[in-house]
């Protein structure tokens, strides 16, 4: 019972950064821009968050700084893909390379310095960890609590609101959207910036809320998991929440099984989230159009072309 409570209580902290990043990617890709740069955007967000806290900034402001840094790098990506109409895949991979390289150089003096982070609910409200319920609530933080609200808002905006519909139209059929009077480039650039904001926030969360220390390469492929989560979620924010919880649970389970000495094949268990990703990718490619992929995703729209 204790095992179950401890496990379930910790899942939100595993799921939150994955969810934040995949929500950003969903907005971006709904507008037709394929974004593989999450790993780099998160890296920049994490480092900036750390530098901010270490420079004496409030941890909450540091989260905002991380989000801003992600947005700035996404702006470069947006200029490349939306304005210059460069290949999305290559530009995304370039963002990863730039993000990882930049943080390695700029962040060096800030490595391995422990700093105060976002306080958990336990610290904020002095919740006793003596009962199972107390412990489960105490380990949460305000960001994890805000996640369901963010998902609901984003889902409503994307699926139900007029401006959400227009954004999706850009990703499905930009020619038609263009004719309908939507400024394609503005819509896409806005969507790209949102992905930078949320991925930067996800990276800063890892650093400022979870590890309380920054080291080079600490995103450790979580950005790529977010990319896969988008496909798992079929570009739907609500399903991304479920996906992040499933991935987070699998990730959180392995060390806990080890800690009770469970006789499990550890390496196989650690593969689970990635195996899951592979299954999702295969299943979605079999499903084809039904996968929910925006029709114009990753393609370059030029007004004079006939589509």
């Amino acid at each position: 019972m204790d095992f179950l409570v401890g496990w379930i209580a910790i899942v939100p902290s595993y799921a939150t950064p994955l969810l934040l990043a995949s929500l950003g990617l969903i907005v971006c890709e709904r507008a037709g821009i394929l974004n593989l740069g999450a790993e780099g955007l998160m890296a920049v967000g994490a480092m900036t968050g750390a530098i901010a806290v270490l420079s004496g900034v409030d941890p909450w402001a540091a989260l905002a700084a991380g989000a801003a840094a992600g947005t700035a790098l996404a702006l470069l990506f947006g200029i490349a893909t939306v304005v210059m109409r460069a290949d999305h895949t290559l530009s995304g991979l370039a963002v990863v390379a730039v993000g990882l390289g930049l943080t390695g150089v700029v962040g060096r003096p800030y490595m391995q310095k422990t700093f105060p982070g976002i306080a958990s609910l336990g610290e904020l409200f002095g919740i006793e960890r003596t009962t199972a319920l107390g412990r489960s609530v105490a380990v949460q933080d305000p960001v994890t609590l805000a996640m369901p609200v963010l998902v609901a808002l984003l889902w409503w905006w994307l699926m139900k609101s007029g401006s959400g519909l227009r954004l999706r139209a850009v990703g499905e059929n930009p020619a038609a959207a263009d004719v309908a009077g939507i400024d394609i480039q503005i819509a896409q650039l806005g969507a790209v910036l949102v992905s930078g904001l949320l991925c930067g926030l996800a990276g800063a969360y890892l650093c400022v809320a979870t590890s309380h220390v920054w080291v080079e390469g600490m995103i450790a492929a979580r950005g790529w998991v977010a990319v896969a989560l988008v496909i798992f979620a079929r570009w739907n924010p609500a399903r991304a929440l479920i996906g992040a919880l499933v991935f987070g649970s699998a990730d959180a389970l392995v060390p806990r099984l080890q800690a009770i000495g469970a006789d499990i094949p550890v390496y196989l268990a650690m593969m689970l989230p990635y195996l899951l990703t592979l299954v999702v990718l295969v299943a979605s490619s079999i499903a084809g159009r039904a996968s929910g992929e925006p029709s114009f995703l990753g393609r370059i729209y030029l007004r004079q072309d006939k589509h």
Binding site: D2, F3, G6, I10, S13, Y14, G104, R108, M111, Q112, K113, T114, S120, E123, R135, V139, L206, T210, S211, H212, V213, W214, V215, E216, G217, M218, A220, R222, A252, P255, R256, L257, Q258, A259, I260, G261, A262, D263, I264, P265, V266, Y267, M270
Partner: protein, 369 residues
């Protein structure tokens, strides 16, 4: 292709051969053929707050105590071609003592050592040795035994925890020795051990630390470079133990001590021997412990009682004197089978192939599967 290559290296090859012949006549000691010039090559940032930084402290000691200027190159990946390019450049510039700082350098360094027989190579946590190359590591398990003695006295729940990177021998002996140190205080103490399966993921380390505390452990040790596990311990008010460097800055209130490297105790005398022409590389590498001062404990934290300090100090003296060996038999493996017979001690070969947990550890050893 081979012709071109041999044409280019023919002269140096001949010189090397002549030097090797000369060297072989002058007993087995290695001699430099010029003024000593030392260079350190790091796989990542030198000031990484952990492994590299401990070696960097050793490098500074070499500079100060031997009055040498020691060159540094950082961020050379563990790839044969990249490392070799860095070594070639140093040798061309007249450097003749090269210190590699990561395990992945060992094999390419051994190849370079064959190509440059007049250059001395030292390989931290390496596996290769030769007439002009020596790998070095430290008996970290001795320090971890003492950490266990401290943890065993701090625990009230009789459950302590340790997180580590991968199930390799140099990590397994730390975990086992930690558990044995604690059990020397109270044989009922259980040690929860969890591998993060990463050397470098502070997010996961913090999460694993939480998983261990959820198992009711009330002392937490980290065998990794990052401080996030100690941060978790500090917040939970649980005594903690660090590794590689004094980690007290991450947990000023709850830290007990840290098991630290003092590489200068190896590097300074060894490089001095190389310069003096008396160096003879160990056949199986240098592998020293607390008696040489290569492994130590950092100063105790504020929460450690005088009684606990005295007990740790007594164990420390016994280890230095050689009367106490953490892996003194009889010892059982986790599954109850014998690991060390009564009266026996583990030899170095058995240490380097340690792929099991000892009894008293709760955890999953992937190697056993």
């Amino acid at each position: 292709m081979t012709n071109i290559a041999s044409g280019r290296t023919g002269l140096t090859g001949l010189a090397a051969l002549a030097a090797a012949l000369l060297a072989s006549t002058a007993a087995f000691a290695f001699t430099l053929d010029g003024p000593p010039k030392v260079a350190f090559i790091y796989g990542s940032a030198a000031l990484d707050g952990g492994w590299n930084e401990a070696l960097e402290a050793g490098r500074k000691a070499v500079e100060e105590q031997l009055k040498l200027e020691v060159a540094v190159t950082e961020n050379i990946p563990e790839e044969a071609t990249k490392l070799r390019a860095a070594i070639d450049l140093y040798v061309k510039r007249g450097f003749n003592i090269i210190v590699g700082t990561t395990y992945g350098y060992s094999v390419p360094m051994a190849e370079a050592a064959k190509a440059y027989p007049n250059v001395a190579f030292l390989s931290a946590s390496g596996t290769e040795n030769g007439p002009n190359m020596e790998s070095f590591y430290a008996r970290t398990y001795q320090g971890w035994y003492l950490a266990g003695v401290a943890a065993g006295q701090a625990t009230k729940t009789k459950k302590i925890g340790i997180l580590a990177g991968f199930p390799v021998s140099v990590v397994n002996w730390d975990i086992n020795s930690f558990a044995l140190g604690a059990r020397s205080v109270d044989p009922s103490i259980e040690t929860v051990a969890v591998f993060t399966n990463s050397w470098w993921d502070p997010v996961k380390e913090g999460q694993v630390a939480q998983a261990i505390l959820d198992q009711n452990a009330d002392v937490l040790a980290t065998n990794l470079s990052a401080t996030s596990a100690l941060d978790v311990a500090e917040k939970a008010g649980v005594p903690s133990i660090g590794f590689q460097l004094d980690m007290s800055h991450a947990a000023p209130k709850t830290i007990q001590t840290s098991v630290v490297f003092r590489w200068e105790k190896y590097l300074v005398p060894t490089i001095k021997e190389i310069i003096d022409g008396t160096w003879q590389p160990e056949e199986y590498g240098a592998f020293e412990g607390m008696d040489a001062g290569v492994v130590e404990l950092a100063p105790f934290g504020p929460g450690v009682s005088d009684e606990a300090k005295a007990k740790v100090e007594a164990a420390r003296q016994a280890i230095v004197a050689g009367t106490l060996d953490p892996f003194q038999g009889p010892l059982n493996k986790q599954d109850g089978s014998a690991a060390v017979e009564a009266g026996a001690r583990l030899d170095d070969g058995a240490l380097w192939s340690m792929d099991y947990f000892v009894q008293g550890i709760t955890g999953t050893m992937p190697a056993a599967q």
